[in-house]
């Protein structure tokens, strides 16, 4: 191939102006490496194109550059920072005064924001749970008191039940003789019952209705054997049935109001109730 002919065939212009097809471009680029005159021709045409374009230059609108910079604003700032970071090592310059808004800084912002939100939420929850705790605490105390009260009630009821149960046991015993002591004239409101075990000779008294003993006084049970009174014990502040003294013999049981601790002989003026033992 004659290179001079090739160069003057118009291929150079075609190539530079972008009018050559792929095959022509490939051919030229291959020949170019072997023939520096091809490159020279290309350079020459490019230079003349450039010169011609500069000779015909038209001033752009003054706003075009502003619009361009505005359009590239984000990219320009980003690239500049990247470049500054990249060249910091090579240049001995002061550290950038402005903090570089990097991804990690953004991340830190998000983390900081998240921490604040978490802190506020946690504080609110603390208050909420503290109130809840106080309320619960009060409820627990109230429930404990209630429980104690119920426990006491229960104990009382159990004690009472025990007495009643005992009394029932006593009353239903076939060996026990029941002696109803009725109020004497003037003391008709009073009533007491003696349960006397004929085998063991134990004596129990149930004060059905007895006027409360005045201060310093106490009721005393008497067993009368052939008209002779025998002390059968003092009625203490027992609930229900009170066990008194074992009594071997008795025709009549009677209760008198005596001085506290009892008397050797009954004060008959203070007789309250009396009942015959039915044999």
């Amino acid at each position: 191939m004659n290179i001079e002919e090739y160069i003057s065939s118009g291929i150079i212009e075609s190539y530079v102006l972008g009018l050559a097809d792929a095959q022509e471009v490939a051919e030229l680029e291959q020949l170019k490496s072997a023939h520096p005159e091809i490159q020279a021709a290309i350079d020459s045409f490019e230079a003349s194109l450039e010169t011609a374009a500069f000779a015909n230059a038209i001033d752009p609108a003054t706003t075009t550059k502003d619009k361009l910079m505005l359009a590239l604003q984000d990219e320009l700032i980003d690239k500049k920072n990247t470049q500054e970071e990249a060249t910091t090592e090579a240049k001995v310059v002061a550290m950038p005064l402005k903090p570089i808004p990097s991804k990690s800084a953004n991340m830190f912002k998000y983390i900081a924001a998240a921490s604040i939100i978490l802190f506020v939420v946690s504080a609110a929850m603390n208050v909420y749970f503290f109130r809840q705790y106080n309320a619960t605490n009060k409820q627990v105390v109230a429930l404990l008191n209630e429980k104690n009260a119920l426990f006491t009630d229960n104990n009382n009821i159990q004690a009472k039940y025990q007495e009643i149960s005992n009394s029932l046991q006593l009353m239903s015993d076939t060996n026990v003789i029941k002696v109803a002591m009725k109020g004497i004239a003037g003391k008709e409101n009073n009533l007491a019952t003696v349960y006397w075990n004929s085998k063991s000779k134990d004596v129990y008294v149930l004060a059905n209705k007895l006027t409360k003993a005045p201060e310093g006084k106490q009721y005393q049970l008497w067993a009368l054997v052939k008209g002779k009174p025998i002390d059968a014990g003092m009625l203490n502040d027992c609930n229900g049935v009170c066990k008194l003294k074992n009594t071997q013999q008795a025709d009549i049981f009677a209760i008198t109001l005596e001085k506290k601790g009892g008397s050797p002989a009954p004060d008959l003026s203070q007789l309250y109730v009396l009942g015959k033992v039915s044999s």
């Binding site: 291929i11 102006l17 009018l19 490019e46 500069f54 990219e75």
Partner: protein
């Protein structure tokens, strides 16, 4: 890096950077170099764009688009394939042809023509805005060459398309276009 710069002086303007340095700085995303590039090359590139896009405002829009492309695509510029200006010229030409071929432009062009006819009938003078720079040179070519350069270079048709369009063999299109370009070079160099 700046202190290594050699200053090139020409009669027209003081060039701050050599082309090699300018390319190097642009590839490093140097804003100052980019600003310099715009200040020094926008006028020449606008003349290239204006050869294809006749409306001044639209041509300025294309110029902006071209410089955005230059900024974003500078990495792909290979200085072994040609000068920086040639690379930018081709970007300008392609962007201009794309604009002219766009539907929006075609529609506005029809309206423009109607307006132009009205203005003409009203007696106003239309400036031959297209007859500057390279296009002016092309206008000096023989008619058969002129049409080919017009279609191939300014309107971006492939030689195959031109052959079909004009009803002449592809070989003839190739030969004529080559001849046209040889003449063009002669005129430009004068």
């Amino acid at each position: 890096m700046r202190h290594h710069l050699t200053y090139q002086y020409s009669l027209e303007a003081v060039k701050k950077y050599s082309e090699t340095e300018l390319v190097l700085l642009l590839k490093q995303r140097d804003q100052t170099a980019y600003s310099y590039l715009y200040d020094n090359y926008s006028g020449a590139l606008l003349s290239v764009i204006h050869n294809i896009v006749s409306e001044v405002e639209l041509a300025n829009d294309v110029l902006q688009e071209v410089f955005i492309k230059i900024w974003r695509q500078i990495e792909s510029y290979d200085d072994t394939k040609g000068r920086l200006f040639t690379w930018m010229l081709n970007i300008s030409r392609n962007a201009s042809i794309d604009t002219v071929r766009s539907k929006a432009y075609q529609n506005s062009q029809q309206n423009q023509e109607l307006t132009a006819i009205k203005q003409d009938s009203a007696g106003s003078t239309q400036l031959p805005v297209d007859q500057i720079g390279l296009r002016k040179v092309v206008h000096q070519l023989r008619e058969e060459y002129r049409v080919l350069v017009e279609l191939a270079y300014f309107q971006g048709y492939t030689q195959d398309e031109i052959a079909k369009m004009l009803g002449i063999p592809l070989g003839t299109v190739k030969t004529r276009l080559r001849n046209a370009l040889i003449q063009l070079r002669t005129v430009i160099k004068e």
